[in-house]
């Protein structure tokens, strides 16, 4: 098996064959002997007191095996940001005092089949006392509004970000402007619906949960807490996951109930599957936001201050609210050199469905607002938006005003390269009518990546174990959760390179909380960077163990040995001493008897964020990008066509270029959806478009030409220089397009989605002289 390193090559995904042949198994496909069908009973009211739950009729229905309510639980609340924000732990796995949104879980049923389970739900008699409900966050903040939890004015999360003297800086500015942006809700729309299979082992009081999840260890923690059990007694297993995008990052009541029902019915496994309507209506959604900004600039192009206020509709519970608000009010400080900042974020409880994490957290909403606003500031002082961004962009090896420690930083190169490739200089500001009433325009947006965000625990460690068997096979155990992004493949590439063997040797086992090492999960673009470093360290350790035996046997110094291309080599001469296979056999043989088990972990160097000011280094490193959109706007119909997107991305180093491009392309197309039509709509707390026919996501016919280019900055902390990058390409897309529309026809849409109606209305307003 002659090879060279797989790192930096677009090797086939480690699970590609199973996926193209349909053999890949998802939890949705799984069944177990004796398995029962579980269903959740959900509140039909947006806000009501629960007076009485009577399950007696349902229990008598033939085929019903178990019914659970809060009375079967220890009544312990869970939340997602417990470590830093204990007051946001606000949800019971089953509610019993009141319900706070249409869909709130109050009971669950296990039965022999779907029909019986459904019928049993209809036989559960719940008496409610309807309470006044509030759906608009601004209304919810007013004194006298219905109190959803105990938070004052329903503001569940308040977060400032405050540095310097913004008031003085605004006064000293040559140009100041104020803008208000509004951002709608959106759905993750992963293709595999949410699903859980729970099994309770009565003899040991242990739980096994199979879930379609991005964070098995996070679910384990919440399950153990709400069941009042030890974490060790809860086993969470992930199979292939059919997409997540932030929507599968938490424990859901259905996870809890699948296990509780199993306990109550005597240990039979219980499977609870969400319908597509349930996924849209009752899982998680993007936080709608109102984003108000007031900022200033000097004539020379220096941004003097950014100030503002962000109000997010949080829905009924807190979920990942603090992280989302933090991203919304802090993320832009990674890209712009600022001295004076003051933003205040409020996440408001309403009786709408629960807002939570979604790709980019609050960065997508902030990306649209900030990047549109920055363009308008540039125009206000008569400066080219590309030059304006270059003037204010952060540099390598700097510490920002909020104490982000930025080492490698290719942002300026990204901006310059995107401008060059898109022909910015020749196109921007040049009026181009390609057909009567059809105008072309070009626009830019920039963004930054984090790779991890220490907001779940005090640490953000990930671990890996590498086991080399006597026959030379290599197993990699990781707790990281590949939900489709390709992290299993990247980790296998890293392990193969570091161990000096062929990629094809690596078999990956992920993730099972009882077997694989701890990993906080797939979020904040952290896996390649954090789990990748852990895997690299584990492979280094395994290699050291092999080389020690070889050194002892051949009476050579271990530091002079290495493994490359499946051979143990003398580093100085490059001469092959023996094959990897033979070296492994040697390790296991006779008196050596060494079982090769390498271990590694990695905890990024960060400093805790002080959430009273917003100061702290949230991530071990930062990635950067610039995106340029070219559009054609039809002023008669209001239709906007995106002709091309150029994305230049500082990814550090691409472990698997095809996967990295795939993340960027997928993000941009998701961004096109959010720009033009994705808008989860509600009426009095009920989702109006809970299907793929009514909630449109981009289809193949909606794709656009994408040019994706890497800037390699070889991050000193990243494995082989790699950085995380799975989310940020979604951040600047809407703003780049909105800015391009302005370049084409002189109107700036500040309210997503950008529909033809809004374009026409803005044109009309402009023509009447008010625009």
């Amino acid at each position: 098996m002659k090879t060279t390193s797989p790192v930096g090559k677009s090797v086939p995904r480690i699970d590609a064959r199973q996926k193209v042949t349909g053999e890949a198994r998802f939890v949705f496909d799984m069944s177990l002997p004796g398995m029962l069908v579980g269903k959740m009973l959900r509140s039909p009211h947006a806000h009501a007191k629960i007076v009485r739950i009577d399950t007696s009729k349902a229990e008598k229905l033939p085929g019903v095996r178990a019914i659970v309510t809060a009375e079967d639980t220890p009544k312990i609340k869970f939340g997602s940001n417990e470590y830093f924000f204990p007051y946001t732990v606000d949800q019971f796995p089953l509610e019993f005092e009141k319900v706070r949104y249409i869909g709130d879980e109050i009971a669950a049923v296990a039965a022999v089949d779907e029909e019986t389970a459904r019928k049993a739900l209809s036989l559960i008699d719940v008496q409610y006392e309807i309470l006044p409900a509030v759906f608009d966050p601004l209304e919810a903040m007013k004194p006298g509004a219905p109190a959803i939890h105990t938070a004052m004015n329903n503001i569940g999360v308040m977060m400032p970000s405050s540095f310097g003297d913004p008031d003085r800086a605004l006064k000293e500015s040559d140009y100041v402007r104020e803008d208000v942006f509004t951002l709608p809700s959106a759905a993750h729309a992963a293709l595999e619906p949410h699903v859980s299979i729970g099994q309770y082992e009565l003899s040991t009081n242990r739980i096994t949960l199979w879930a379609s999840t991005q964070a098995p260890f996070k679910i384990r923690e919440a399950m153990a807490k709400t069941f009042k059990m030890q974490e060790a007694d809860v086993r969470v297993i992930k199979l292939h996951v059919g997409g997540g995008f932030g929507g599968k990052l938490e424990m859901f009541p259905m996870d809890f109930c699948a296990c509780l029902l199993s306990k109550k019915c005597g240990g039979f496994p219980v499977k609870i599957m969400c319908s597509r309507e349930e996924v849209f209506s009752f899982t998680r959604r993007k936080h709608p936001m109102i984003y108000k900004l007031k900022s200033g600039a000097k004539k020379d192009g220096t941004i003097t201050a950014i100030t503002g206020e962000v109000i997010a509709d949080g829905g009924a519970y807190c979920s990942y609210g603090p992280t989302v608000v933090a991203a919304a009010i802090m993320r832009f400080m990674m890209v712009y050199k600022l001295k004076n900042v003051r933003l205040f974020g409020s996440r408001v409880y309403t009786n709408n469905p629960i807002s939570g994490a979604i790709r980019g957290f609050g960065g997508v909403q902030s990306g649209f607002a900030i990047e549109s606003h920055i363009d308008m500031l540039a125009r206000g002082i008569g400066m080219d938006p590309v030059e304006f961004r270059l003037k204010n962009a952060t540099d390598p090896n700097t510490t920002t005003v909020n104490k982000l420690i930025i080492s490698s930083n290719g942002l300026k190169d990204c901006i310059r390269e995107a401008a060059r490739r898109s022909g910015w200089r020749d196109k921007y500001g040049v009026k181009k009518e390609t057909a009567p009433g059809v105008f072309r325009g070009i626009g830019i947006g920039v963004a930054a990546d984090v790779m991890g965000s220490k907001m779940y625990k005090s640490h953000e460690s990930a671990g890996s174990i590498i086991k080399v068997e006597e026959d030379g096979s290599v197993y990699l155990f990781t707790g990281a959760a590949d939900t489709g992004q390709g992290s299993d493949t990247a980790l296998a590439q890293i392990a193969a390179h570091e161990l000096g063997v062929a990629y094809e040797r690596i078999r990956i086992k992920a993730a099972d909380t009882e077997i694989t090492p701890f990993d906080t999960g797939s979020f904040a673009s952290r896996v390649t960077f954090i789990s990748g470093n852990a895997t690299k360290n584990a492979a280094t350790d395994a290699k050291r163990q092999i080389l020690e035996v070889v050194g002892q046997e051949l009476k050579l110094d271990v530091p002079g040995l290495d493994i490359k291309d499946e051979q143990v080599i003398d580093k100085n001469s490059g001469r092959a001493l023996l094959s990897f296979d033979r070296a492994v056999v040697l390790c296991y043989s006779f008196n050596y008897g060494r079982l090769i088990i390498g271990r590694g972990n990695y905890n990024p160097k960060t400093t805790p964020v002080d959430f009273r000011s917003g100061e702290g280094n949230i991530s071990g490193s930062y990635g950067f990008e610039a995106q340029i959109a070219e559009v054609e706007v039809n002023t008669k119909t209001g239709q906007v066509k995106v002709l091309k997107m150029v994305d230049v991305h500082d990814i550090g180093y691409p472990i698997n270029p095809a996967s990295v491009h795939g993340q960027i392309e997928g993000s941009i197309v998701m961004g096109l959806g959010y720009t033009f039509y994705e808008d989860l709509k509600f009426k009095e707390g009920r989702v109006l478009n809970a299907s793929f026919s009514k909630y449109r996501i981009p289809r193949s016919v909606n794709m656009t030409e994408i040019e994706s280019v890497f800037i390699e900055t070889n991050d000193p902390q990243g494995p082989f220089g790699a950085k995380g990058m799975g989310e940020s390409s979604l951040l600047p897309t809407a703003a780049a397009i909105a800015n391009a529309i302005h370049d084409a026809i002189g109107i700036q849409i500040k309210d997503l989605p950008i529909t033809p109606q809004k374009v026409l209305a803005a044109l009309k307003e402009k023509e009447s002289g008010r625009g």
Binding site: V20, T21, L191, Q485, G662, G666, V701
Partner: protein, 157 residues
Amino acid sequence: MKTVTLDINQKTCVLEVRDSELLIETLRDRLGLLGTKYSCLEGDCGACTVLLDGNNVLSCLILTLEAEGRKITTIEGMSPGGELHPVQQAFIDAGAVQCGFCTPGMVLASKALLDKNSHPDKEDIVRALDGNLCRCTGYVRIVEAVTAAAKAMEKTS
């Protein structure tokens, strides 16, 4: 209940089905052909795509009774003997697979296209895949894969 004889992946299969039984239910729940994916059950997403006499159809919109006497191909029938179909290989090579939940439907819809049109242009491809949703890839590499598969099939035919 009715007895039907189904031709699935070139194998004959006789079974009793309810009048209202959907093809996706028969395939997944009764025959264990789990490569046909359940995602919306409303005919909106394409994850449950199978081929019926070579045409891509949604198995959540078809009654099993309607499929009697017609050739049904599921993803499990794409690589008899373990050798991948050029479309499958092209999906791997182009990096067109991410979470993989839409992949079986995408592969089958692509095969249906290429069996009818061996030289599709980009427009033909995006139109042929319009009914198959993918949330991961942005379709870029899927279209590249189908283009590459067309070339590969041309060489082998």
